[in-house]
């Protein structure tokens, strides 16, 4: 086997944990997952794949790495799942270490490849099966495991304590009031129209986004609230680390919090994986066909505010700007056209990307890859040269990223490939350019 720079990365989450594995344990876990958890799709997908390699053209990691066969979607399945099936789970710790690296850091489960496989084989699903196995064996990149641990203990991703949470909201309410005196962040308002939920990095490192939303909600005149208790975090890294038990707990609490507050719907901030967890993966694991109340993604929400005239644009944004179609809300929710509407409504000089909509390239930060932390950053960057080229070709100076993972991932890419661009959320642009009615100014 050839030695790749990735195989030399030191990560205690892999290096230390494999020391505790026994062949029996590995085999038991593999068989359990194959037979009990994912039998039908796994069987049919593995039997249907004709090993044609057409899915390769879809994958940004493969294209970015000069079409290295190891990185094609089917190549990754071959190195992991096929091998496990062939060897009936009789593999050693080193194999599990390699598999963990591949499934967590070399695939962002973006599902672009399913659109290129003639049979619609869900390769990302197969690699998620690999993640599940790694999770049950405890071999997960340490940083990612830490976010899952945080979810398990605090029900949010970043160890935010309740007092910290409430404190941050109050601080950001004051910040918003500096712009709009009547702005509020209403806590625990039962029967409100909307519960607004965010991901934990907002209170932890991007608190100004909470102030922004307070301004936007006030201008739009929305009857909204945020929970003061756990259940405010809609993110879910446990879904990506393969810890579905914790994933289920997090999602259940999120929905139960909305039910407790008797809101009509949840509006969520700009994040893709959070939508996926809350609306697709979470409910399915919990045995609900669909979520109990509607969940509106920020893109949809801003689209509604702009089309209904609840938010008016004072002056369009001037700088040349392009956009990132987040996998989980464009490929995963079909919001691409609405996103274009928002961009054109807000900005004077919008420059679209190619490929776009469903076919856009993933940011290579989602799917938990960015949460694998600094040890894997270089690998992630090398895996997404194609994104840098795509963004550069637009000639824009700003990139609008309506997703937290895209936001951080593309910021990394801009730095690594020295693109000299800046990354912004929709809400950041919106508060700059929206019209604040006179009566709200005093």
């Amino acid at each position: 086997m050839k030695e790749s720079p990735e195989s030399l990365v030191v990560d205690p989450g892999l290096d230390e944990t494999i020391k505790k594995l026994t062949p029996e344990r590995i085999q038991q876990v593999v068989n359990h997952v194959f037979d009990k958890e994912c039998s039908a799709r796994l069987q049919v997908y593995v039997n249907t794949c004709v090993h044609c390699g057409l899915c390769a053209d879809a994958c940004h990691t493969y294209i970015s790495r000069d079409r290295d066969p190891d990185f094609s979607p089917v190549g990754k399945v071959k190195r992991t799942i096929w091998e496990l099936i062939k060897r009936k789970g009789k593999v050693d710790g080193q194999f599990i270490r390699m598999m963990s690296r591949i499934v967590f850091t070399e695939c962002a489960v973006c599902r672009r490849c399913s659109m290129y496989c003639p049979f619609g084989i869900d390769i990302a699903y197969l690699l998620l099966v690999g993640r599940r196995i790694c999770n049950l064996l405890g071999v997960v990149p340490q940083y990612l495991q830490d976010t899952t641990n945080s979810h398990a203990v605090t029900l949010n991703q970043m160890w935010v304590q309740q007092d910290e949470w409430i404190d941050t909201l109050q601080w950001q309410e004051e910040e918003a009031q500096a712009e709009i005196p009547s702005a509020r962040i209403p806590l625990e308002k039962e029967g409100a129209e909307v519960m607004y939920s965010v991901i934990a990095p907002e209170p932890k490192i991007l608190a100004q986004l909470l102030g922004n939303i307070s301004q936007i909600m006030t201008v739009a005149g929305i009857d909204w609230t945020m929970p003061a208790t756990d259940g405010w975090d809609n993110s879910n890294m446990a879904m990506y680390s393969g810890d579905f038990e914790v994933m289920g707990r997090v999602e259940r609490l999120h929905w139960e919090t909305a039910a407790r507050l008797k809101v009509k719907k949840i509006v969520m901030g700009e994040c893709g994986h959070a939508f996926r967890g809350a609306v697709y993966d979470g409910p399915r694991w919990l045995g609900w066909q669909y979520p109990p109340i509607p969940m509106v993604h920020a893109i949809q929400f801003y689209y509604d505010l702009l089309t209904s005239g609840r938010i008016k644009i004072r002056e369009k944004y001037k700088e040349p700007i392009t956009v990132q179609d987040p996998c989980n809300t464009v490929r995963g929710l079909g919001l691409g056209k609405k996103l274009r509407y928002i961009m054109n409504e807000m900005c004077e000089d919008f420059r679209d990307v190619t490929p776009r909509f469903e076919h856009n390239y993933c940011c290579m930060a989602g799917g938990g890859t960015i949460n694998c932390g600094p040890p894997w950053k270089r690998s992630r960057m090398v895996s997404n040269r194609v994104k840098a080229e795509q963004l550069k070709a637009t000639g824009a100076s700003i990139i609008c990223t309506p997703c937290h993972n895209c936001h951080s991932g593309i910021e990394d890419i801009v730095g690594f490939y020295k693109l000299g661009m800046h990354v912004k959320f929709i809400s950041e642009i919106l508060v700059e350019i929206m019209e604040i009615p006179e009566e709200l100014k005093t």
Partner: protein
């Protein structure tokens, strides 16, 4: 040997194909009882919509990215499906074995299509070897299966042009054809009957559930 190949062999091969496929499909549905996130999200309209885009030539993005491969693939599969059913010799066999008959392809067309299968088949084998990405995911099984699939067509041509001993060639023709049929349910040739299910499921995941498209 010849008589056996003409008679029971055909029956056995078809029985394996038929019951094997049914077995695979039924076991898929049985396994689906454990995999609950599939059937509730199936929807006829979106399933068919996706299938439609993937069976018409150049209806999906990847077909446009790989125009030559797609063309070859369409030609290969079309001939592969049509020839065994409508070739003159086979129509006689259908009549003798099962007592059913229909129209036949004109002989020159049959020969032309058979050549197409063999040539595209060899191109596929060549592609597997020449393209590092495909070679990486190809083991001996992939090459053997491809060869097995085109073997009846090669021997069909040999029989037509009376190369080598006709009887031996025909026996190989029949045996390779029978093996081919019998292999369908138990190898990736099963994409023949899994295709509508996997494609429709993905079409529903993308279209019905996620309001986007998968082509």
């Amino acid at each position: 040997m010849f008589d056996f190949s003409r008679g029971p062999l055909v029956w056995i091969a078809f029985a394996i194909l038929f019951f094997g496929s049914i077995y695979r499909i039924i076991s898929m549905f049985l396994l689906l009882k454990k995999d609950k996130a599939v059937l509730p999200y199936m929807n006829l309209k979106f399933g068919l919509r996706s299938l439609f885009h993937w069976i018409i030539p150049y209806g999906s993005t990847i077909m446009r990215i790989r125009p030559v491969f797609s063309l070859l693939s369409f030609v290969f599969h079309l001939c592969l499906l049509i020839l065994p059913i409508f070739a003159l010799g086979h129509v006689i066999m259908w009549k003798e074995s099962f007592g059913i008959s229909w129209w036949t392809l004109p002989e020159p067309l049959t020969i032309f299509m058979t050549f197409l299968v063999v040539i595209t088949g060899f191109i596929f084998i060549f592609r597997r070897i020449a393209d590092p990405t495909v070679r990486f995911v190809s083991s001996a099984k992939e090459y053997i299966l491809l060869l097995l699939v085109i073997a009846p067509f090669i021997t069909g041509l040999m029989a037509f042009y009376q190369l080598f001993d006709y009887k031996i060639v025909i026996i190989i023709h029949m045996w390779s054809g029978a093996l081919w049929l019998a292999a369908i349910p138990f190898t990736w040739l099963s994409h023949m009957f899994y295709f509508p299910f996997t494609r429709a499921y993905m079409g529903c995941e993308f279209g019905f559930v996620r309001h986007s498209k998968d082509w």
